[in-house]
């Protein structure tokens, strides 16, 4: 098993760091899955009664100038590691001004992801800082837990309003109630509602737009959206989980969509300009 990647571009480093930092706000540990073309940060969803799962896919080409990996075997050319995103994020944040950053899989006292950065200095030799982030290699027999989640059959899929605006609304609502009802229809309308004994508050969004099916590469062109465009599909979510998701967002998405299926799953998908996409 080998892995070695090098980031030279400052903007790429910055973007990568922000992605990792966003993840660190969502979970304490997650799985990093490495394939020849992609990196995935995965939190296997225990999606029962308000649990949260996460799937983040990054194209390695968009971040790394050099990227080499060799998986467990040629047949299973992947590496799965359990890592604390907080540690990784901290290591990356201190080296934002580096000339280059190498991330590699090493074995020190245990298996580690080593972040090695070359820092600019006034003198002739450049300063080297290394952070050894301990990781745990996940054996192949557990890999099926970390497959890409299948996008379920949707009732409604809608683009979200700007996340900052959404966050503000949800923040205010959190003070009043623990559960939030999200309604959306195929006409680009979305409502956020809370209801308590004393008060009910609802916020309405219009003209949001609905993503057409077949546009997203990771979907296998599922069933077409059907039904009355005015019909509102509704889902109740725990506000705190939603807020946690929104608070962590540091990457600026180009598109964020929310899909509700009749199997009580709410999926938020964020597509970022650098070719990463999230499913939450």
């Amino acid at each position: 098993m080998k892995f070695r990647g090098k980031i030279i571009d400052v903007a790429c480093l910055n973007h990568f760091t922000r992605v990792v930092t966003t993840i660190s706000k969502l979970t304490k540990t997650c799985v990093l899955r490495l394939t020849p073309d992609n990196l995935f940060f995965i939190l296997s969803g225990k999606v029962t009664n308000g649990g949260v799962g996460m799937w983040c896919e990054l194209l390695q080409n968009n971040f790394f100038d050099e990227y080499q990996m060799e998986g467990v075997s040629s047949e299973f050319n992947q590496i799965c590691l359990e890592v604390s995103p907080e540690n990784l994020s901290r290591a990356l944040r201190t080296v934002q001004c580096a000339k280059s950053v190498k991330i590699k899989l090493t074995k020190k006292h245990c298996a580690c992801l080593t972040v090695a950065a070359e820092l600019p200095t006034l003198s002739s030799a450049s300063r080297v800082v290394t952070h050894d982030v301990p990781v745990e290699v996940i054996p192949r027999r557990l890999w099926q837990e970390f497959k890409e989640p299948v996008m379920p059959d949707f009732d409604v899929s809608i683009y979200l309003p700007p996340l900052k605006m959404l966050k503000n609304v949800v923040d205010r609502m959190k003070n009043l109630s623990n559960f939030l009802v999200i309604e959306a229809n195929l006409n680009g309308e979305m409502n956020l509602k809370i209801q308590t004994d004393l008060v009910s508050v609802s916020t309405h969004f219009k003209d949001l737009g609905n993503p057409p099916w077949g546009e997203d590469a990771s979907q296998d062109g599922g069933p077409s959206q059907r039904g009355d465009p005015e019909l509102l599909a509704e889902a109740t979510v725990d506000i705190r989980k939603l807020q946690q998701f929104l608070v962590g967002q540091q990457v600026n998405p180009t598109k964020a969509m929310c899909s509700k299926s009749n199997t009580l799953k709410l999926t938020m998908k964020i597509k970022c300009s650098a070719g990463g996409s999230w499913t939450h």
């Binding site: 070695r4 090493t106 074995k107 006292h109 245990c110 003198s123 300063r127 080297v128 800082v129 290394t130």
Partner: protein
Amino acid sequence: MCRDGRKRESAGQSRPLSVQDRRRAVRGASGRRAGPAVCELLSFGVRFLPVRAALLQQVRVLFFPVFPSGSVNITLTMQKGDQNATFLCRYSIPRGLNFRCKLAIKSVQTVFRSLATLEKTVEKCHIGLDEQKDRLTFTLHCKHGLLKTHNLSYQDSESLEAVFDKDSCANVFRAQPRVLVDTVVHFPTSLEEVTLTLSDERMWVRNHVEDEAERSKAVLTELCLAADEFDHFDIKLHNSITFCLKEFRGLLLFAESTGLPVTMYLDEPGSPVVLSVTDSVLEGNFVLATLSDDHYLRQSNRGADAEQTRPPDDFMNDDMDAYLIAMDSSVAPGPSTADPPSLAAFRKPPAPNYRTRTYSEEEEDGEEDPERPPDKKFRSLFFGSVLPPSPRRSSQPFTTQEVLASDSEEDEAEAD
């Protein structure tokens, strides 16, 4: 000592009011983690001792020694960022009086509590000593004839000294504070201790992990500095020294605010390290305790990952790392640098300048396991003053004063 007290007037330089700066000095002296820090009135100056304080970054105090009789003008210069303010103090001290007392710095802080109010209303601050009642009186002369008097009780203080000798230290280096600040920024703020490993041409800085259990979970960070990043780098003994990073950070903040290079004197593990900040008018010595040798021995016997004096530098090696990596050590090239400067730790008269030095005592906690290293607390920061030659003073005789550090008598309960 100071019967008439000290009167302080604003010199009206770049700042309008000086009381706020006095307060800032006091506040800066205690810092966030101040324990029972003391404000000592000595026969020749005020000393703020931030025992266990992390930050003294805003105060740069210049002291001029006071004559046994007569009055002398004292100048306090406070520096905050790039702002400077100078105040004039007038001392009046009867001959032969030698007084030392101890005050909790938080009490002094309450006198100067609200900066905004002080700025608007206070014109003058008068400090007087009432020996009969064991009180120090702070009188704020405010506008409209208002007088606010604060009576603070003091305690007698003893002084303890610990001896260190910078000249006998095997390893010395000097760096601009920026270099050191850029180094410590890579370590998490919660990190307690850091290890410096020294060789002829390089210095490695690593986080120190105490437990074996922590090792498997903690991020190990290592930074390597080359000798040419330092103004001076003279290493005679290749070893590893571990000391408290938190205190070190605080000291670096101070050094950065003064812009002065920091000189570090290191010796064997277990001997204190001394950080020295010097310029023409002041010399500050900061003494930190280090982990002793037997601690290292115990650690290396325990773990498979023994301390290495030459940690590997495999970054430059571009080959892919195999899962089982072989550690390789790098060879440090190049000749070593020039001779170390000789700093007199203590100069006796009749030189017109004199320097004093800090003493600190490592706290011996009787309850602790005797094998454990001493508690690494930074005890006191003392600024000695150096007299500039002045026609007014040159005719007067100078006596060197031996300055002793504050005692270690601190109530643990009060510590932050």
